[in-house]
């Protein structure tokens, strides 16, 4: 019976020649039982690249070819087109890079995207660490500007850096994307940065700081305009992006109603904040204004545990940092990239923590060991250590790309590979411009477009999936495949997207052909 259904679907698919978002959802909904062929789901979560930043010239994708001049033009804070891009404040390369590309060398760039690896321009190799950029909750919304994406420069702290793109065809993951499926309408689940988007990956929720107005974090409540999406500019903020970085009356971590949207520290070690004096050494000082109180919202981990589905979050360098402290530039562990470490259900001393928060090892060695021995749980999240995550400012693209491509090589040889689905994506855009308008959603997102590559024996081969998706599409797949209760944030997002009469966000199944099995 299953074979007949698959054969029928295959014929229908061939006749369609391509899948519109709506038809793709309908097609796959009719065959959700075949998803049981997938036993192992792996999510690899890299850092801070917009789709256009790496894949803007990918054949068949919604890239920069054909984008109008108007859509490439950035506006100043007064809504007039900038006559040129401001320089990259402080220079294009990170401190210590030799030879540096100085601020003076970035002056007078034309008002459109440019390639930082252009042999006729800056000619930087993929192994160059470049200047980091603001990637924050309110700034991201101000930059998106209702979908026009024309205020990225205006509300950046890095001038022209936001418009800098790379020739991604030189990366190893480009070849992986060519072999399997590249999703070119995949958006970050939440506006802003890593902290928030890691929360969206596991919870589809905004963390909450109860009674923040009477807490040490009170000064971190943002000052926001009545529109709810724009920070209030300070009186001394430069009027033009050419004149300098914008200043805000209050650019904090918390919304006026106390949701944590920018980086807060975990309440448990490893945390950027040390324990309080004479307190449990496994905790972080709750009186520190940047320590987030333990969170209690249900996560995808809770949902998986509820259905007795094995799962783990593999944090690169997790145990090394617990045992020896953090070090830079390697592994440069990032505390706020470990989202389950904010939740009371996974507090130190709990059985759930021991079972589910696992050491990925230095350079992913423990994760690779599990891959090679076929001992991955049914659902595995992997977070690369800092120097291998592709984040601007402290990591380069080349090292992270090589690391993830190496992981793919291991996964393809894993005993679990024949029934595996791998999603490689980025947590957020890193403040880097992308031309695609995000779907209209709820107050938290979706934000800017990011790359997502679906790798599996069941992935469509050489396929570009135009289905609108966001980070929560990963959760949608897990929910569907393992028949989990739906997280509240997904329901809210679905309702919000539908209220604008937009196509529903996908669940990754549009990237799959369950007849593909070798």
């Amino acid at each position: 019976m299953r074979i007949n259904m698959i054969a029928t679907a295959s014929v229908i698919s061939a006749a369609m020649g391509g899948l519109s978002p709506a038809s793709a959802a309908g097609y796959n909904d009719g065959h959700s039982n075949t998803l049981n062929l997938i036993d192992t789901v792996v999510v690899i979560y890299a850092e801070n690249r917009s789709f256009d930043n790496l894949y803007g010239s990918f054949p068949g994708a919604d890239g920069l070819q054909g984008v109008s001049d108007a859509a490439l033009t950035q506006l100043d804070r007064d809504n007039t087109p900038l006559r040129e891009l401001p320089p990259v404040w402080g220079g294009l390369t990170a401190k210590g890079v030799t030879p540096p590309v100085t601020q003076a060398e970035t002056e007078h760039l034309a008002n459109h995207p440019y390639r930082v690896d252009d042999p006729q321009g800056f000619n930087l190799p993929l192994g160059t660490i470049t200047h980091d950029l603001w990637h924050r909750f309110y700034q991201n919304q101000m930059q998106i500007n209702g979908g026009k994406n024309d205020k990225f420069v205006a509300y950046a702290d890095s001038g022209a850096m936001v418009m800098g793109l790379w020739n991604g065809s030189k990366t190893a993951m480009w070849k992986v994307a060519q072999k399997y499926t590249l999703a070119d309408e995949f958006f970050m689940g939440g506006f802003g940065g890593s902290f928030f988007n890691h929360q969206w990956l596991i919870c589809a929720c905004a963390p909450y700081y109860a009674h923040a107005d009477t807490s040490p974090a009170k000064p971190s409540v943002a000052v926001v305009e009545p529109d709810g999406v724009s920070l209030t500019l300070a009186a001394n903020s430069p009027k033009s992006a050419i004149d300098g970085i914008p200043k805000f009356a209050g650019d904090g971590n918390l919304t006026p109603d106390f949701y944590a949207v920018n980086t807060m520290q975990p309440p448990y070690q490893p945390s950027g904040n040390t324990p309080a004096k004479n307190a449990d050494a496994a905790t972080a000082d709750p009186a520190n204004p940047t320590t987030l109180p333990p969170q209690t919202e249900p996560t995808i981990g809770d949902m998986l545990s509820l259905k007795h589905i094995s799962w783990a979050w593999y944090g690169g360098a997790w145990q090394d940092v617990l045992d020896h402290g953090n070090k830079t530039p390697v592994p440069n562990f990032q505390y706020h990239h470990q989202p389950f470490n904010y939740y009371a259900n996974f507090a130190p001393g709990t059985a759930a923590r021991t079972e589910h928060l696992l050491d990925g090892g230095l350079a992913g060695s423990q994760f690779i060991k599990a891959i090679d021995t076929g001992t991955l749980p049914q659902v595995a999240f992997y977070k690369p250590q800092g120097d291998l995550n592709e984040h601007s400012g402290y990591a380069d693209i080349e090292a992270g790309d090589a690391h993830i491509a190496d992981l793919i090589g291991h996964l393809e040889k894993s005993p679990q590979w024949p029934h595996m689905l791998v999603v490689v994506t980025y947590d957020e855009n890193g403040g880097i411009w992308d031309h695609a308008a995000p779907p209209k959603g709820d107050r938290w997102g979706p934000g800017s477009r990011i790359p997502a590559i679906i790798v599996s024996p069941f992935a469509r081969r050489g396929f570009v999936d135009h289905t609108p998706m966001d980070t929560t599409s990963i959760l949608r797949f897990l929910t569907k495949r393992f028949e989990l209760p739906t997280l509240h944030g997904i329901t809210v997002r679905d309702d919000a997207v539908a209220s604008y009469n937009q196509p529903p966000l996908g669940d990754l199944t549009s990237a799959l052909d369950m007849t593909n099995s070798q």
């Binding site: 990170a94 401190k95 980091d132 890095s158 950027g272 940047t290 953090n326």
Partner: protein
């Protein structure tokens, strides 16, 4: 160096500012960063770094004796 300059230098290296407030003695700014470092920037221009990640931010700020 003032607080804005210190923030720009550190943030450019991918270390996000997480808190900015006047220090306890109200003679400068206390800046917290995502790597756990706290940078005290006196109004006089004197800087110091403490906490997790202090070595890294001291290097970025060229603070003598702290990196």
């Amino acid at each position: 160096m003032d607080a804005d300059e210190a923030i720009a230098l550190i943030s450019a290296s991918g270390i996000e500012l997480t808190d900015r407030r006047r220090n306890a003695s109200n003679d400068g700014w206390s800046l917290s960063f995502a790597n756990g470092s706290v940078v005290d920037v006196k109004d006089s221009g004197v800087l110091s770094a403490s906490g997790n990640g202090a070595v890294e931010v001291a290097r970025l700020l060229d603070l003598p004796g702290q990196s």
